[in-house]
């Protein structure tokens, strides 16, 4: 069997099968187990590397030819496969608490398979097409039957669709730049197209207005899942471009462009988050801020450190967003709304869900002892080493996210006197939130635990990884 069949074909087929299964819990369990199995296979039998198990020798062929082109997943992709399917298993398991397994698991599995295909297609320029297909599959995930599609969803569709033509055309022009003598006009044209394509794809400032709108209209858990997975692959595609084209890799302007765009995105998100009164919108701004942080990491002069920071942020981000959106979904069922006014005093009825929201928010703001702290601290230190201004703005944005976490806490604890403490969360909800919170603290206290998994990730890039 070939690697594309295992990590792309099987999940796609299973996604269709899961969609027609009658029981939501069964879908959640099967989806979680399959995602875990795919992560496990990637761990124990990396594609393209023969493994001996007793008398058996197993080899997963890395390539598959489709319509004259290669779809290849080799040993360099091993870590990303483990990471992506591991994160998927966590989110799919979370549907036991949120109850949206049919959408999140079945369509989510299809989205992930298409995104993995975007990683595997050669030449990598065609990845933009597969990312667009994943976006289209995400539409029913974000607007399940019975809901009304709002402006946020339409803008999501428009913006993400715009990214594809820009990236494909930029790829074509860049190939010309790489092949022939450097033509300044052509370089500028291709760079502008590339910038526009990734600005739409990664939803940087000011092309991210759809994220808060979408978070207001759609299920927080579905939005959290899609906006954890999509930007991750968008960033990997961006890194592929930087890795593949030497003039881009060695460009003196690229770090300053990335820093400016990253800081603008981060600071606007951080400051605007501080003034929100809607839990969905707060998550949205935190997600936007994370994109800014990733771009800032890529802007560091030492590309190796930048890559390490970028990849080390993947797990804390997925964990924090998972805990955050599970907790919000639990409270939403009780309050019926996501505005602050509906959540006053809920800490005594839903202490774990409220703790989940506050701690996940603090984790993404880079609070000490929590998962993202060591990595954000490293990034902050590196930024300060360059200049104090970026470090100042980084601190200000983090402060904005801190402030909104404290405001949320204040709202949750506004209960009348003599209110009894109770815990109305169900057992699966309690277990998931507690596990998530323990994970957030564990990664904050022992960041080295993620090292064996993540340290190999840069190896998927031919030049950047060296």
């Amino acid at each position: 069997m070939t690697a594309p069949v295992i990590w792309i074909g099987i999940p796609l087929g299973l996604a269709a099968l899961l969609f027609i299964l009658p029981r939501e819990r069964l879908i959640a369990y099967i989806g979680t187990l399959v995602a875990l199995a795919l992560a496990g296979i990637a761990y124990w039998i990396p594609p393209g590397t023969a493994q001996r198990i007793g008398a058996l020798s197993l080899l997963i062929e890395p390539s598959l030819s489709v319509l004259g082109r290669q779809i290849t997943l080799d040993s360099g992709d091993q870590t990303l496969l483990i990471l992506v399917y591991g994160i998927a298993a966590f989110w799919f398991f979370g549907t036991l608490a949120t109850g949206q397994a049919r959408q999140v698991v079945s369509l989510g599995l299809a989205v992930i398979a298409l995104l993995v295909a975007s990683l595997a297609v050669r030449p990598f320029l065609y990845a933009a097409l597969l990312i667009e297909m994943a976006v289209l599959v995400a539409v029913p995930l974000l607007a399940p039957p019975g809901s009304r599609p709002g402006r946020g969803l339409l803008r999501f569709l428009i913006h993400q669709t715009f990214a594809m033509p820009f990236i494909l055309l930029a790829g074509f022009l860049l190939s010309g730049v790489e092949a022939g003598p450097a033509d300044v006009a052509q370089i500028v044209q291709s760079a502008l197209l590339l910038l526009m394509g990734f600005a739409f794809l990664l939803a940087v400032f000011p092309l991210n207005t759809w994220i808060p709108l979408l978070a207001e209209e759609s299920s927080p858990y579905a939005v959290g899942f899609i906006l954890t997975i999509l930007p991750t692959f968008g960033l990997v595609l961006a890194l592929n471009f930087i890795d593949r084209f030497s003039w881009l890799r060695n460009s003196a302007q690229l770090p300053s462009i990335l820093q400016t765009v990253g800081l603008t995105t981060l600071v606007t998100a951080g400051i605007w988050a501080a003034f929100q009164r809607h839990l969905g919108r707060i998550v949205a701004y935190a997600i936007i801020a994370e994109t800014g942080v990733s771009l800032l990491a890529l802007s560091l002069p030492d590309q190796q450190i930048g890559l390490q920071i970028l990849f080390y942020l993947f797990i804390p981000r997925a964990l924090a967003l998972g805990v955050w959106t599970i907790s919000i979904t639990i409270l939403q069922r009780r309050a019926g709304d996501l505005r602050f006014s509906a959540f006053q005093g809920l800490a005594r009825e839903y202490p774990l869900a409220c703790a989940g929201i506050v701690f996940a928010n603090l984790a993404l703001s880079g609070a000490p002892l929590l998962a993202a702290f060591p990595i954000r601290q490293a990034l902050w230190e590196n930024l300060a080493g360059q200049s104090l201004w970026p470090a100042f703005w980084f601190g200000l944005a983090s402060l904005g996210l801190w402030v909104i976490a404290l405001r949320s806490l204040a709202v949750f604890t506004m209960f009348p006197e003599n209110t009894e403490w109770t815990s109305l969360e169900t057992w699966p909800q309690r277990i998931l939130i507690i596990l998530g919170l323990l994970g957030l603290f564990a990664l904050g206290l022992f960041p080295q635990w993620a090292r064996p998994l993540l340290s190999n990730l840069p190896a998927m890039f031919e030049y950047l990884g060296k």
């Binding site: 319509l67 097409l129 289209l136 339409l154 033509p165």
Partner: protein, 196 residues
């Protein structure tokens, strides 16, 4: 002769895309969308083998059919657009301005893309810019889908001149169909919500 025919096709693209912008009746919109794909097929067939170009035409017609069938079954959704101004004269005037910009800029863009002739670039830019104008004037799922399909078709026409991979043709067809299906799904949701 071929060049004159190509310019004739560009004229057809202008008619169909302006028609899509102005038309309020979904049946006309579907017919214009189908005509748009036919015109683009001609431009694409100048660069691609006929069978591959025909695949694009058929995909486009399938997309139009999917949207049309959804509209037949859905409750008639006449989007009372909230934004101002809404009149046909305004839309025609905007389209005229956009077309002026297209005809001004197309010759210089032809230099960027070796292999793409002036009719290709003008036709593609007409579709892209009028599709963008369409997207800027609507918040209705059906109209948004039509706008996106128009923009995408413009890009495909341009991209066909520089890339003739079968995989890309297949993936672009899948994206076109996927977009039409996603649009149909959104139309159904909107219609179900509005039903009494």
């Amino acid at each position: 002769m071929a060049s004159a025919l190509s310019w004739g096709v560009v004229f057809l693209l202008i008619i169909t895309s302006v028609g899509l912008l102005v038309s309020r009746e979904w049946r006309w919109s579907m017919a214009l969308l189908a005509g748009q794909y036919f015109a683009a097929f001609w431009l694409v067939s100048l660069h691609w083998p006929l069978t591959m170009a025909a695949a694009k035409l058929i995909t486009g017609w399938m997309a139009a059919a999917a949207l049309g069938m959804t509209q037949i079954n859905a409750r008639e959704y006449q989007s009372g657009e909230a934004s101002w101004p809404q009149g046909r004269v305004f839309r025609l005037f905007s389209a005229g301005l956009v077309l002026l910009a297209v005809f001004t800029t197309s010759p210089s863009v032809t230099d960027w893309l070796p292999g793409a002739g002036l009719p290709d670039v003008t036709g593609a830019f007409t579709l892209i810019s009028l599709g963008l104008l369409h997207l800027g004037m609507t918040a209705s799922p059906l109209r948004v889908t039509l706008g996106l399909l128009t923009v995408l078709l413009g890009f495909e026409t341009l991209y066909a001149a520089v890339e003739n991979s079968i995989l890309v043709a297949g993936l672009l067809s899948a994206v076109t169909l996927g977009l039409a299906l996603a649009g149909s799904y959104l139309v159904i949701l909107t219609s179900a919500e509005e039903a009494p």
